[in-house]
């Protein structure tokens, strides 16, 4: 591990830390419908959107508040409708414009189209296909890029709705879904994406609608070079923690992520909004210390992951060392495990990217996680299994962490001699029930699908899984194969989208089950949390006293970290021990 590597990690964190408060304040203002410096420019557009879409306004011209059930219904209706639309778009791409490569529905089977449309509406961006050989520019732009915005905006809205539950008292409503969606897109995601896309262009990310170019390489072979409107999708792919690459190689591709600077920008975009939301949360509950406490817990978990991944990647493996590869970094080369990594990023930036992309539910990759060392690769896997609460996805990270905070308070809050309360709200039957349902469905989706796939006996050449048994789709035998299967369902359920790419997931069995896992992971987690938001909003706030469980100090931060790790570890340790852990021990 090099000083240079540490410096780059420190630089990344300093950038995030610097932006947390200003952006957090801005998001709070936007989501509360207050005037911001962008209002003169975007206000008319916002009101036009409401008028065109028929959003009901109250007497003061603000969108009408919704109860948690109506909010959820709006969310479900919107997601359902847009998923169907995206499905249709893929299947009809032959008849749609901007298709220079003449891709047709033959490139997108029904199960793949289902998987992809679910994947992008749930903010997962799992890709069972090779984009540059499958989808037209139109589908990429009007379908995928649009969903990158909307699914992130929905997540942000839901997080804010949950925070409203804590901040309000004795009311039935938690906000308006349509307003949250519109404001998050218009004021937060769009302006930031425009700036980010321009910055990325300056580094060499391409943006065109040209047909693919065929060139003759120095070796004299012909090579097809894919083109496309990449920068516009790249910016929101990172900012919205979506992660679906324009190209199969994702952020390892030079047209997506050409320079170390663009790499820094992309990592910065992943954490930007999730980190800021912790401040938004603190501001909305009128106690910014509460937001910083979550920020601190997330920082510790992030740092732990980075250090572990960096350490094991730099350490390499005995096999590499035996092959005569230098494991020590020196001025000429980076040393360590460089398999599957880009030389322009090196070990520190690959480990940092892998950690950040799985801490958040992004899933973009700038190196192949499949080629990481067992424990280096365990970090991204375990990060997702923790629930992607380390900064996490746009909105998803905050509401996931709040769910853990509710659990932490419930498990240990009794130890101060009062029934548990968080931010003045009593944590009772309903909150605990909903938090447990969310935890349970996530664990069930990961474990049951992965369990089934590790033994499911399909016939070779059959419809469901042509390669034969589901386990035959793995690229590597043994414990690593199990890691690949486990990673796939973990990533889908966690709405992450990254993969231990060895697994061939483009078969009906995997497309359908992974699609279901994504749906479960998104909506069966969201609905209980929205129910919690509704229940909390209706409660009165208990005033803080010396007898109140303090949730802003180092003690609570430690407790929260402990609960996140212990719950994650207890749920997945048996499975992990047969995957990455034993793989490491057998090195």
């Amino acid at each position: 591990m090099t000083a240079n590597g540490w410096l780059q990690i420190a630089l990344f964190f300093a950038l995030i830390l610097a932006c947390t408060k200003p952006l957090g304040v801005f998001i709070a203002s936007v989501m509360e419908g207050k005037r911001t410096f962008l209002s003169p420019l975007l206000g008319p557009l916002e009101r036009l959107t409401y008028r065109v879409c028929g959003v009901r306004l109250d007497a003061e011209g603000q969108p009408e508040e919704q109860t948690w059930t109506r909010y959820s219904a709006a969310l479900l209706a919107f997601s359902g409708f847009s998923a169907v639309l995206l499905y249709a778009m893929q299947r009809m791409q032959a008849w749609l414009p901007f298709n220079p490569q003449a891709f047709s529905q033959n490139n997108v089977s029904p199960d793949l189209a289902f998987n992809t449309s679910v994947s992008f509406t749930t903010n997962t961006n799992w890709q069972s296909y090779v984009p540059e050989q499958t989808l037209s520019y139109f589908v990429q732009m009007a379908g995928l890029t649009v969903h990158n915005f909307l699914s992130a905006a929905a997540g942000l809205g839901i997080a804010v709705a949950l925070v409203r539950g804590f901040a309000r008292q004795s009311v039935k409503t938690i906000g308006n879904f349509w307003a949250d969606l519109t404001r998050a897109t218009l004021y937060v995601l769009l302006p930031a994406s425009v700036i980010a896309a321009l910055v990325l262009c300056s580094q060499g990310v391409i943006q065109n609608l040209s047909a693919y170019t065929t060139v003759t390489t120095l070796e004299g072979v012909k090579q097809v070079i894919a083109q496309g409107p990449v920068a516009s999708q790249e910016a929101i792919k990172m900012l919205g923690t979506n992660g679906g690459g324009f190209f199969n190689a994702n952020s390892a591709h030079p047209f997506e992520n050409p320079t170390p600077f663009s790499n820094l920008i992309e990592m910065f975009l992943i954490f930007l909004i999730p980190a800021a939301l912790t401040y938004t949360f603190g501001k909305m509950v009128r106690d910014t210390r509460q937001g910083w406490a979550l920020f601190a817990a997330m920082t510790v978990l992030w740092l732990g992951g980075v250090v572990t991944a960096y350490y094991f990647e730099q350490k390499g493996t005995p096999m590499l060392a035996k092959a005569g590869i230098a494991m020590q970094a020196d001025a000429a080369q980076s040393g360590g495990n460089m398999e599957g990594k880009e030389t322009r990023f090196g070990i520190a930036n690959s480990a940092l990217f892998a950690t950040a992309t799985t801490d958040a539910s992004c899933g973009a990759v700038n190196a192949m996680h499949d080629s990481f060392t067992p424990l280096g690769g365990l970090v991204p896997l375990f990060n997702i299994q923790l629930g992607e609460v380390v900064f996490g996805g746009v909105g998803a990270g905050l509401y996931g962490m709040l769910m853990f905070a509710i659990l932490a308070v419930f498990i240990s809050g009794l130890m101060v001699g009062r029934t548990p309360e968080y931010l003045g709200k009593k944590i009772e039957q309903k909150e605990v029930k909903m938090a447990m349902i969310a935890m349970l469905v996530l664990a069930a989706s990961v474990l049951l699908f992965a369990g089934a796939s590790s033994v499911a006996p399909f016939v070779k050449g059959g419809y469901w899984n042509a390669p034969g048994p589901a386990a035959a789709n793995t690229n590597n035998p043994g414990a690593h194969g199990l890691s690949e299967i486990l990673y796939a369902y973990t990533s889908a359920t966690g709405n992450n989208g990254s993969a231990l790419a060895g697994l061939n997931a483009n078969t009906p069995w995997y497309n359908v089950t992974l699609g279901l896992a994504m749906l479960i992971g998104r909506f069966l987690m969201l609905l209980p949390l929205l129910a919690v938001a509704g229940s909390l909003a209706a409660k009165r706030q208990v005033p803080v006293s010396a007898g109140t469980f303090p949730t802003h100090g180092p003690l609570f931060v430690g407790l929260l970290i402990g609960v996140v790790i212990i719950v994650g570890a207890l749920t997945y340790f048996p499975a992990l021990s047969l995957g990455p852990i034993v793989e490491h021990l057998m090195l």
Binding site: I411, R418, L578
Partner: protein, 710 residues
């Protein structure tokens, strides 16, 4: 009317009934060991009875263990019949799984047993009695007490057992209530006022009363008390239900983790081409070790024991919910008199108005107080006698007219030999004087204010339209109250003193006692409003009360402790009854509530933290052949896979029984701030919970080796 009320402190010889009641209520319990042999014997029997799956289904965690134990037993028998190897190991696992369930049952039975023993004693004291029922013509009809219905009227004479709960509608009598309260000194019950309620099962000692029955048989206070201490009416409290949901949810998550381990293992065995997948018995063992059996097994025992601890303080909690709420209380409303100050104020000084002789004032003060039976009134008579040698006079009622104190006039006095002597609060006397055309001297106001500022109560004495002066009544704050209120403050509880005094007086006493706030010149209406205000701010309120006019406030409060000496209406309205009628006890009740919650939280945290070690014991053992490399996780160096699994199961069972005393006694509670409490408890039960099983499992593994059990 003069009835000599015995000072309870002077009564030294307890009656037989009171001794029985003492036993029934478990007073002197501190002497009784936690594991009282008869209770233990009964609990052991009950633990087996509780194996009934229908009973156990209410406890999801232990139900899963029982199903696992039954499954293991079946598989063990199959091994026995087929004669294959491994029977000894399977037998031991099955046995320890059954022990796990039995230990949890035992904990619950122990907690219930203490209540049941008390209920039995109470039942013995509830003898079949007869009642002298009065019919419409006033004729006495002797009927069995059990035939009385609401609204019947009966006559109770000396040595009669009062046949049911009721209100005295005629007469006055001294009653031995030791069956209920354990207090041997008789109490006075009379018609009208706040002392009219009588309880079935208590005994009339002198005089007679007519009682109108207010409850049907089976619904009496004694019946309810028996049901309460026995736990028959026990319902799960809200927090207990929520906790149950959480541990049931965790159980399901662990079930998933263990069930899916089977396919993962099959895959691994297939790939490694070595070993076999773990057997069902091993998977069941892992599951039982992981699910929160410690808290699952002890949860209901903790709740019952909490109620029992309240009972040991001689307080009857009508529901576990009330005890739980006590832990959450933010605001304590404490009546000044009897709680913060000693019950009675004493006259300490006569301060005459200008131009009035001190003796004249003393004389008038004494005259006005002759008929005043309140302790304050008597202290005035005594002070006049001690200071000025004025003897108490007998004044026949035809010579004088006594003016009793009323809430409207707020004055009392006497019309004697043409003189109108009044004493009362400054404001009332001012109005009285004004109505007679007199003038209220500024100097008297000054004197009164000066007294009030020092925490005393000024009582202005007037004769006709002339103000004679002021009597200084002094409140005496009980010792140690300031320290207790400081403790409350560290615990985050605000104390509010309720008093009928004027704001000046109240402020002075509040400052002396160290309460956070006070409500002066409080009427029952004010009290109710204050509670509603506090609750509207999200706070939970606890209060004590005894009079019928306290009933609405008692009902409104989250924790309402009615004094046993109080009226039936008050007792019905509150959710606890203090049989000792000691209002200070509210503070202890709060501590018990907190202790109950802390015990629950501590054991939950401990239970979950324990799992870490169990993974390190069982996972390497499961795959010892398939993946020998996993043995590097065997950091306890357990010697064989069988002994590792068995040791974890045994540890899991033994920890339940080891924690029974803690569950029954409760975690030691210290009045600290929440932050300090959390730090301490997290260290002990969180970190302790992670660390403790490592040496524990290691030790059991060694013992199993030494004893050649595996």
């Amino acid at each position: 009317m003069s009835v000599q009320v015995q000072d309870p402190m002077n009564q030294t010889v307890p009656s037989e009934a009171s001794i029985a009641a003492d036993r029934a209520l478990g007073r002197g319990q501190r002497a009784r060991p936690l594991f009282d042999p008869p209770i233990v014997r009964r609990a052991v029997t009950d633990s087996f009875a509780k194996l009934n799956p229908r009973t156990l289904a209410k406890n999801p965690v232990m139900f899963v263990v029982e199903v696992g134990a039954a499954l293991t037993t079946g598989l063990m028998l199959r091994t026995l019949i087929s004669g294959s190897s491994g029977f000894g190991f399977e037998l031991q696992i099955a046995a320890w799984l059954w022990f796990t369930v039995l230990f949890a049952n035992f904990a619950e039975a122990m907690a219930e047993g203490r209540g049941k023993a008390q209920a039995d004693s109470l039942r013995r004291s509830k003898t079949d009695s007869t009642a002298k029922k009065l019919d419409a013509d006033g004729r006495v009809d002797v009927v069995p007490a059990s035939s009385l219905r609401k609204g019947d009227i009966c006559l109770c004479e000396p040595n009669d057992i009062i046949p049911g709960d009721g209100d005295v509608i005629e007469g006055i009598a001294s009653v031995d209530e030791s069956v209920i309260t354990g207090e041997s000194a008789p109490v006075i019950r009379e018609s009208g006022g706040d002392r009219s309620a009588v309880t079935g099962g208590t005994k009339v000692l002198s005089d007679y009363i007519k009682v109108q029955i207010t409850s049907n048989p089976g619904e009496t206070f004694l019946d309810r008390m028996i049901a309460l201490v026995e736990g028959a009416a026990r319902q799960k409290t809200p927090n207990e239900i929520a906790l149950n949901i959480m541990i049931a949810g965790l159980t399901l998550i662990f079930l998933l983790a263990v069930v899916t381990l089977a396919p993962f293992a099959l895959y691994s065995v297939d790939q490694a081409k070595a070993g076999t997948a773990p057997t069902v018995i091993v998977l069941v063992s892992l599951l039982v070790c992981l699910i929160p059996t410690t808290i699952g097994g002890l949860l209901s025992a903790i709740g019952i024991a909490g109620m029992d601890r309240v009972m040991q303080h001689n307080v009857l909690a009508m529901s576990g919910k009330a005890v739980e709420a006590a832990g959450d209380v933010n605001t304590l409303l404490l009546d000044k008199t009897g709680t913060i100050t000693l019950g009675n104020r004493e006259a300490v000084e006569f301060l005459p108005a200008p131009g009035v002789h001190e003796g004249e004032l003393a004389n008038a003060a004494q005259l006005s107080s002759l008929a005043d039976e309140t302790p304050e009134g008597r202290s005035i008579v005594v002070l006049a006698k001690e200071k000025y040698g004025l003897r108490g006079r007998e004044i026949a009622s035809h010579e004088a007219e006594f003016i009793p104190f009323t809430a409207q006039t707020r004055m009392s006095g006497i019309d004697y030999e043409g003189r109108q002597i009044r004493k009362g609060a400054g404001e009332s006397v001012r109005r009285h004087i004004a109505s007679l055309g007199g003038e209220f001297p500024q100097s008297v106001t000054d004197i009164a204010d000066a007294i009030a500022r020092t925490g005393g109560t000024p009582l202005v004495v007037s004769e006709d339209a002339r103000v004679l002066g002021v009597i200084h009544l002094k409140d005496i704050v009980k010792g140690g109250m300031r320290e207790r209120f400081n403790q409350m403050r560290t615990m985050g509880i605000r104390t509010v003193m309720i008093t009928g005094d004027n704001p000046l007086t109240a402020a002075a006493i509040a400052a002396e006692a160290g309460v956070d706030d006070f409500l002066a010149q409080a009427t029952p209406r004010d009290k109710l409003d204050l509670i509603k205000r506090e609750q509207a701010g999200g706070r939970l309120v606890a209060m004590t009360g005894d009079g019928t006019n306290d009933a609405p406030a008692l009902a409104q409060a989250d924790v309402g402790v009615a004094m046993n000496t109080g009226t039936m209406a008050a007792k019905e309205a509150g959710n606890m009854v203090d049989l000792d009628s000691n209002p200070t006890k509210l503070i202890e009740i709060v501590a018990i509530g907190k202790q109950l919650l802390i015990t629950r939280g501590a054991l939950t945290t401990f239970s979950i933290a324990n799992d870490v070690a169990k993974y390190f014991a069982i996972i390497p053992a499961m795959f010892a052949v398939t993946y020998p490399a996993l043995n590097r996780l065997n950091i306890m160096r357990l010697h064989t896979p069988e002994s590792a699994i068995l040791a974890a199961v045994i540890f899991n069972a033994l920890i339940i029984i080891a924690l029974v005393p803690l569950a029954l006694r409760g975690v030691k509670y210290r009045p600290l701030s929440a932050g300090a409490l959390l730090r301490r408890n997290l260290l002990v039960y969180g970190l302790g919970g992670v660390v403790a099983p490592f040496p524990g499992i290691w030790l059991i593994d060694r013992l199993l080796g030494v004893l050649h059990l595996v």
